[in-house]
């Protein structure tokens, strides 16, 4: 199952005058805006960051301020970031585990 879930976050301000930042999301080309956190970059495109190791269910962060540790995300090389407190950078290859990986 590779169906992409609908985006969770919706931009309601600060959309003009920001450079776009290319990255890949589950192997597909995607684009964020400069100043986006990894969390924003991903969740404006789809509905999850990872799957919980214990329940196998999708997760998308919770506290947005570095406390809950729910928003960790991997790159295709296995490097892990806390998505709410890491800024998106050009060329990041992010993997959400939406296939249950």
């Amino acid at each position: 199952m590779t169906m992409k879930t609908p985006a969770l976050l919706h931009r309601v301000a600060e959309t003009a005058g920001r450079e776009s930042v290319p990255f890949t999301l589950d192997g597909e080309p995607a684009s964020a805006l400069a100043g986006d956190t990894v969390l924003t970059a991903v969740l404006t495109q789809c509905g999850q960051l990872r799957r919980n190791e214990f329940s196998g269910l999708p997760r998308a962060g919770f506290c947005m301020m570095g406390a809950c540790q729910d928003c960790w995300i991997s790159t295709d090389e296995g490097e892990r970031f806390r998505a709410c407190s890491t800024f998106i950078a050009p060329g990041m290859a992010l993997v959400t585990g939406r296939d249950g990986a």
């Binding site: 509905g47 919980n52 729910d70 960790w72």
Partner: protein, 472 residues
């Protein structure tokens, strides 16, 4: 405490946290000729309440970002920016360990570690939302109230297209107001407190009439703009599709019957809880604070902890709000200076203490206006996930308690893994303590608290020493 004069060069003060408390502490120390090190997890100073968006998000002015608090926010930002060159600011940096007067500090973007020695330490670590779980709270699209606010303020994003805000506390109406103002469809505000609670609290809250007036303004504005406001509710569950990970609505009990509402996102929380892990590592003595329903590091009126050379300021040592944090930050810095034998304006110091003392009555009023639901634990069903890191349920906790006789939080943690996950109990600790107290019929203070452990947040297995990474 008697002060022995110290050469200024021997005083190496470090401040952890650059919110309102940390900023005012830094400013005060710098004004007395010291050069404090300020360690903060954020990229830009301001803390959570006055959090500044990244520089590329510059379209909104401070009035839009901070509303009634814009002048305060601007004052804190300006004060900090003016300190450039007079302090050593480590942004994006986590103090993850404290031992023998040295902090271990990781610079997040480079994953590099530096060891920061201190002679005096001001802990201003702030707060996060107090969470009482409800079924469905692990679904993507459910965020804390503070989280919902960060998404909007810091990233210009809403957590959904049609949002319900639920729980209680001053943040509930503020965030709902900010979302509605930003053009987001706020489906409803569901408050577990009753209007009667708020009326009963009004006299105490008159100690801060401005705060009371702001709260009433948000409620009035929301009502005038057609947002449904319901008080005295019992949240039942977030409705949604677990496998797909989507929120479809909320269910609550209104006192007479169950009601539901469609939405695609939920912001919830029950006021705030202090971030106390660092104070714990430092060996500060904790006491149960009934008003906060939590064990908190004790401090004197000036902010001195039980450990010599360690000072506590702001919401990290008890939730008193941003104005109090500024005063407490300044007062703690003055205490540090006094203890280091540096002359201070003692009238200023006692003035700050008086202001802080006056706020205590207001704080009691807030707790009365937005009481934490007392029946949460008894209503928590066995399949409710308490620990979202490791999926530990209320049923597992109760079974563990019944089978082993565990009656204290760290024992319960060892046996059930609650609080052992990556968040170290930040999200589940308060709730687990309520479950344990209820199951063992003990008062909350008897069940103790989860002990903090280094690293206080996850760090990579391999940290690069800062000298070699070239990180500044």
């Amino acid at each position: 405490m008697t002060a022995t004069p110290t050469a200024t060069s021997e005083v190496r003060p470090v401040i952890v946290g650059a919110g309102p408390a940390g900023v005012r502490a830094a400013q005060t120390l710098a004004a007395h000729g010291l050069k404090p090190v300020v360690i903060d997890e954020a990229s830009r100073a301001g803390g959570q309440i006055y959090r500044r968006p990244p520089p590329t998000l510059a379209a909104r002015d401070k009035q839009t970002l901070y509303g009634f608090e814009s002048k305060r926010a601007d004052a804190v930002h300006t004060a900090f920016d003016a300190l450039q060159g007079r302090i050593e600011h480590h942004a994006d940096s986590l103090a993850w360990n404290a031992q023998d007067q040295v902090l271990d500090v990781m610079h997040n973007p480079t994953r590099s570690n530096r060891r920061v020695p201190y002679s005096h330490l001001i802990v201003a670590t702030g707060a996060t939302d107090r969470v009482l779980p409800l079924p469905g709270w692990t679904l993507p699209g459910v965020y804390t109230l503070g989280g919902a606010q960060v998404a909007l303020k810091y990233q210009g994003c809403a957590i959904g297209r049609r949002v319900v805000f639920m729980g209680t506390g001053p943040l509930l109406y503020l965030v709902a107001y900010q979302y509605a103002k930003a053009g987001v469809d706020v489906a409803a505000v569901l408050d577990t407190a009753r209007l009667a609670d708020q009326i009963a609290a009004a006299p105490a809250m008159l100690a801060q009439p401005v705060v009371l007036a702001k709260g009433m303004y948000y409620v009035g504005w929301l009502r005038a703009h057609g947002v449904a406001l319901h008080g005295g509710v019992r949240p039942l569950r977030v409705l949604g599709d677990e496998a797909q990970g989507r929120v479809t609505g909320v269910a609550w009990h209104d006192g007479n019957k169950e009601r539901t509402l469609d939405c695609d996102a939920v912001g919830f929380g029950y006021a705030l809880r202090s971030e106390t892990q660092l104070a714990d590592l430092l060996g500060c003595r904790f006491d149960y604070a009934p008003l906060h329903r939590a064990h908190l590091p004790v401090r004197d009126a000036a902010g001195r902890s039980s450990v010599q050379g360690v000072y506590l300021a702001g919401d990290g040592a008890g939730i008193m709000g941003a104005d109090a944090a500024e005063w407490a930050g300044e007062r703690a810095a003055l205490a540090l200076l006094q203890d280091a034998g540096i002359a201070i304006d003692t009238a200023r110091a006692s003035g700050l203490e008086r202001r802080l003392d006056k706020l205590a009555g207001f704080r009691r009023g807030l707790e009365r206006a937005f009481p934490v639901p007392q029946d949460w634990a008894e209503n928590a069903s066995d399949d409710l996930v308490i620990c979202r890191c490791e999926n530990v349920t209320a049923g597992t906790l109760r079974q563990t308690i019944a089978n082993t006789g565990a009656d204290e939080m760290n024992r319960l943690k060892a046996l059930s893994r609650v609080g052992m996950g990556r968040c170290q109990g930040r999200m589940c600790g308060a709730a687990a303590a309520e479950i344990l107290a209820h199951a063992t019929r003990q008062p909350l203070q008897q069940v103790g608290r989860l002990r903090g452990q280094a690293p206080i947040k996850p760090i990579p297995l391999r940290l690069v020493p800062a000298e070699r990474s070239g990180a500044s």
